[in-house]
């Protein structure tokens, strides 16, 4: 499949967006039953969008920087009139009366949203096994998970169904599946992409970002969806960075910190990839230093209190009163409870319980309050590191894609999978995962580059150096 950059260039030059869409739909048809990537394909809407793009170009206009590019959307992004489920029974059949800001921006840029992809229910998980509509399979090895929670969006790009997709990253939910599916995945600076219309998991951590096969495609997508949105109070009131312009600026003169805590405990193949990435950056003119940030290891604990606490409140609204599932009962409280009990899966219930407990009278200080202080310490620790280096380097995940069911019985084992990605969500800063090398069974390994808030131009340029070294 062509890259998004190439499709947009060709469509703006007169190539047919409808034909591009048809290639995408054909590819979806050929593998969706096997992989369970899309929960809903909006053929009608996609054709309408593609035709409009073709009409604009035929009339001599420019259809935008993503003209005719088929895009897959994680099913926690609201789409006007198109089913949006969060992979939960509780929202089965719900059609939002509005579009997420990123969806409006994609459409305005000429992109063609083709459908909604599978995820761990309410984005809670690291394998896409927690979907009420069945797991998604990793296109590179269908016996393994694609990662999660944005597993469907990762699989859509990995299976060549669309060149681009959007996911959301609360504790690694873009970077981890990107690593497991051999893709570029970005967790942008908190506030740089509007959350309006992203169904909240943990509001202070959630951030929307792209999946792509190339760094350039990811940069193009982020340029389109990023930037200030008055509908999101946490949106940074500044213009979105231009990433493509500086994509090939390299890393000469940059200081990169190889972080012990972001590699420790990884499989050997993963460690080797990170070391090799350090060497590549050094060869490209960067200074690489090894450093330690001990606070990062506490991120997991803080995250698994903060995220469930916010989630327990964010998911209270699914009560059977206004939309979605209702299980009838004698009185309204019983109806709320019957609806939530039937509508939520086990992992969602587990996190709601954990978060409710962490916030409840008598336990707030020991758990949630403590976690917020750890968060302060983590931000300070990152700041100290960034006083000395421009970027940090580590692994995205401790291992390559794992087999189905291998971690589902032990939530703590599953949670440990996010240990390298979580700190960036707590700090609100930026990170990117780039496929670099392979590991067990020839499966891709993801290397992670981290930077301070608003460091995307530097991160993308460094990621591009790694990509070039891999011959892409």
């Amino acid at each position: 499949m062509k890259s998004a950059v190439d499709i947009a260039r060709d469509v703006n030059a007169g190539a047919s967006a409808v034909e591009e869409l048809e290639r995408s739909l054909a590819s979806i048809r050929s593998r969706n039953d096997e992989l369970n990537v899309f929960l809903h394909v909006d053929e009608e809407g996609a054709y309408a969008a593609a035709r409009r793009v073709d009409e604009i170009v035929a009339a001599g206009g420019s259809a935008g920087p993503l003209a005719g590019v088929p895009v897959a959307l994680k099913d926690n992004l609201c789409t006007l009139g198109v089913p949006t489920t969060c992979s939960s029974k509780i929202l089965d059949g719900w059609r939002p009366p509005y579009n997420a800001t990123v969806v409006d921006r994609l459409r305005a840029a000429g992109a063609v949203p083709v459908g909604k992809t599978n995820l761990d229910e309410f984005a809670m998980g690291s394998s896409t096994e927690n979907s009420a509509f069945g797991p998604t399979r990793n296109p590179l090895d269908p016996a393994r998970v694609p990662g999660g929670s944005s597993g469907g969006s990762a699989a859509a790009v990995a299976a060549n169904m669309t060149p681009l997709s959007l996911g959301s990253d609360t504790g690694g939910s873009i970077r981890q599946p990107a690593a497991l599916c051999g893709l570029v995945g970005v967790k942008p600076t908190y506030g740089s992409v509007s959350r309006y219309g992203l169904i909240a998991f943990a509001s202070s951590l959630d951030q929307i970002g792209p999946f792509a096969k190339t760094v350039a495609d990811a940069a193009l997508a982020l340029e389109v969806i990023g930037g200030y949105d008055p509908k999101d109070s946490t949106s940074l009131n500044e213009t979105a960075p231009q990433l493509l312009a500086t994509l090939d600026s390299g890393v000469a003169g940059r200081r990169v910190g190889l972080v012990r805590e972001l590699v420790e405990g990884s499989d050997d193949d993963v460690t080797r990839s990170v070391d090799r990435a350090a060497a590549v950056l050094r060869d490209a003119g960067a200074t690489v230093v090894e450093l330690s940030i001990p606070e990062l290891t506490l991120g997991l604990s803080a995250y698994y209190l903060i995220a469930p606490a916010e989630a327990s409140s964010n998911l209270a609204r699914y009560d059977g009163v206004r939309y979605g599932l209702r299980v009838d009962a004698e009185d309204v409280a019983a109806m709320n409870e019957a609806t939530r009990t039937a509508g939520f899966g086990a992992e969602v219930k587990r996190r709601i319980m954990l978060g409710t407990y962490a916030l409840s009278a008598g336990y707030y200080d020991a758990y949630y309050g403590q976690a917020l202080k750890v968060r302060t310490q983590m931000i300070a620790a990152f700041a100290r590191a960034y006083a000395d280096v421009d970027l940090l380097l580590g692994a995205t995940t401790p291992s390559v894609a794992f087999a189905f069911g291998s971690k589902t019985n032990d939530p703590m084992a599953m949670y440990l999978n996010d240990v390298f990605t979580i700190p960036t969500n707590l700090s609100g800063e930026a990170a990117i995962s780039v496929p670099f090398g392979t590991g067990e069974a020839d499966l891709p390994v993801g290397v992670q580059l981290l930077g301070p808030g608003r460091s995307e131009p530097t991160l993308f340029a460094a990621a591009r150096v790694l990509e070039v070294a891999e011959g892409r």
């Binding site: 949006t84 969060c86 202070s204 999101d232 109070s233 409140s313 206004r322 009278a361 949630y368």
Partner: protein, 476 residues
């Protein structure tokens, strides 16, 4: 009320929720208007749809600060929290409310009787939707089904929490009434209790004087000043009786039943919700800077106490009836009429009476009556060109359809009665009634009414009573 038995003292603090008079809701652009068809003023935000996010209404902050300033509060950097509990009128199943850092804190309110009630805080929060109960009595108990309208969901509220400084039902009423006047004067609220735009909860406990505070009960559903007063009295007496019978007061929330005239248990302390407050991650800090605060301070007009003082200062010895009229004029914001009349050298007592009666009785059409027209009418009455009855009629006409009072008087055929013609009429009637005139001259003042009656009959009511008396006295 009569003093509490056996030297008991009541301790009352009030929580007043007031809706703010903004164009839109607190966190979305839906109209904040009363009375629209159900669920027509709702959007993803105020319906709590998945993915929606709140954005704070700047003008709601203006009004919240104005309330704080009028109550002498400190305005400080503040935050919003989520108060978590399930209830069908609350779309997100949490209320966004200010918690440990409210925008206004530490103020006071002085009452007309000279007492001072401290204000602990005045914080911002969002209103809930409205439920209607079907089946049974239409109340929540015994209903078999309820309907929810979310038009009110997200309407901005300010909750004003007083200190436990109130000691009598009358003081509670005076506090609520004075606060209502202040809310109206700031432009923050229309103060309409009957539409629910001002709602009161009362925390009531009893103690022996100077003893520590007793256990308090929170009384809900006080929809009028009258029910506030009645409920507090009932509740204090209930607690005293309970204690004197050897019982103890349980901390609980109680419901005031207006019809039965009693409070009953709604929820005990054990059944109280665990609200799991935490900082609202979808909103940021609210810390109005000095310039923003200054802008609001400059727009703030005088409060009712100052306005009452300014009006009474126009009278040399205000009489009780005039003080009552001032109360009405301040309450209904009719001050400008009286001040304009005073500036036009009109009689302030007449102006007050006309404002507190005729204008107050036709509030909806007050825009038809300019302050000039009002002053002119008072002057005409004062000069005897209109009788009191005629002046009232003329004001009524101008309020109904605007225009000039002289023209309105002419249209009614209220011809000017010159002092010459009044003088000759009086002279003629004295001649025709010598006995009565003599008795009047001998000091029988009641006969003034006899002559006024004759003059009115002769002039078909066009004479001014006071001018007739002046004429009679001049000849006495």
């Amino acid at each position: 009320m009569a003093p509490l038995p056996n030297g008991w003292e009541m301790v009352v603090g009030l929580e007043v929720h007031t809706e703010l008079k903004t164009a839109t809701k607190l966190f979305c652009g839906c109209a904040n208007a009363f009375g629209a068809a159900p669920n027509t003023q709702v959007c993803p935000v105020c319906l709590g749809l998945p993915g929606s996010l709140p954005v704070l209404n700047e003008h709601a902050v203006d009004l919240a600060m104005a309330i704080g300033m009028a109550l002498h509060c400190t305005i400080a950097p503040s935050t919003f929290h989520r108060k978590n509990y399930f209830y069908p009128d609350m779309p997100k199943d949490y209320q966004i409310s200010q918690y440990d850092l409210p925008i206004n804190s530490g103020g006071y309110l002085d009452l007309p009787d000279g007492s001072r009630v401290s204000i602990e805080r005045a914080h911002m929060e969002e209103d809930t939707g409205k439920t209607t109960h079907l089946g049974g009595s239409g109340r929540i108990h015994g209903a078999d089904r309820s309907l929810v309208d979310y038009n009110r969901s997200g309407v901005p509220l300010v909750e004003i929490v007083s200190g436990p400084d109130i000691r009598t039902p009358e003081q509670a009423r005076a506090y609520a009434s004075e606060l209502r006047g202040i809310l109206i004067a700031t432009g923050a609220s229309d103060g309409r209790m009957e539409e629910g735009s001002m709602r009161i909860d009362a925390n009531v406990s009893v103690r022996r004087p100077d003893a520590p505070f007793g256990t308090r009960c929170e009384i809900k559903n006080l929809n009028s000043l009258r029910s506030l007063q009645r409920a507090i009295e009932y509740e204090a007496l209930r607690q005293i009786e309970l204690i004197e019978d050897g019982g103890t007061v349980r901390q609980e929330t109680r419901h005031w039943d207006e019809v039965a005239g009693e409070t009953s248990t709604m929820r005990t302390k054990e059944e109280a919700e665990d609200y799991r407050y935490f900082l609202e991650p979808d909103l940021v800090e609210l810390a109005p800077d000095a310039a923003w605060q200054q802008r609001i301070r400059e727009q703030l007009g005088p409060m009712p106490a100052a306005r009452r003082a300014a009006l009474s200062a126009l009278l040399s010895h205000p009489q009780p009836a005039q003080l009552d009229a001032i109360e009405v004029v301040v309450d209904l914001e009719l001050d400008e009429y009286v001040h304009a009349a005073a500036a036009a050298q009109a009689d302030v007592a007449i102006a007050l009476a006309r404002a507190a009666n005729e204008v107050a009785g036709n509030l909806e059409s007050r825009s038809n009556l300019t302050t000039d027209a009002f002053s002119a009418t008072v002057l005409m009455e004062q000069r005897g060109e209109l009788s009191a009855t005629q002046a009232k009629t003329v004001l009524g006409d101008v309020l109904a359809s605007g225009g000039d009072p002289a023209a309105a008087a002419a249209a009614r055929g209220f011809e000017q009665m010159s002092s010459d013609s009044l003088s000759s009429t009086v002279a003629g009637l004295i001649d025709a009634n010598p006995d009565e005139w003599q008795r009047y001259r001998d000091g029988d003042d009641k006969l003034a009414q006899f002559f006024i009656g004759l003059v009115m009959k002769a002039t078909k009511g066009q004479a001014n009573g006071k001018s007739v008396i002046a004429e009679l006295q001049a000849r006495r």
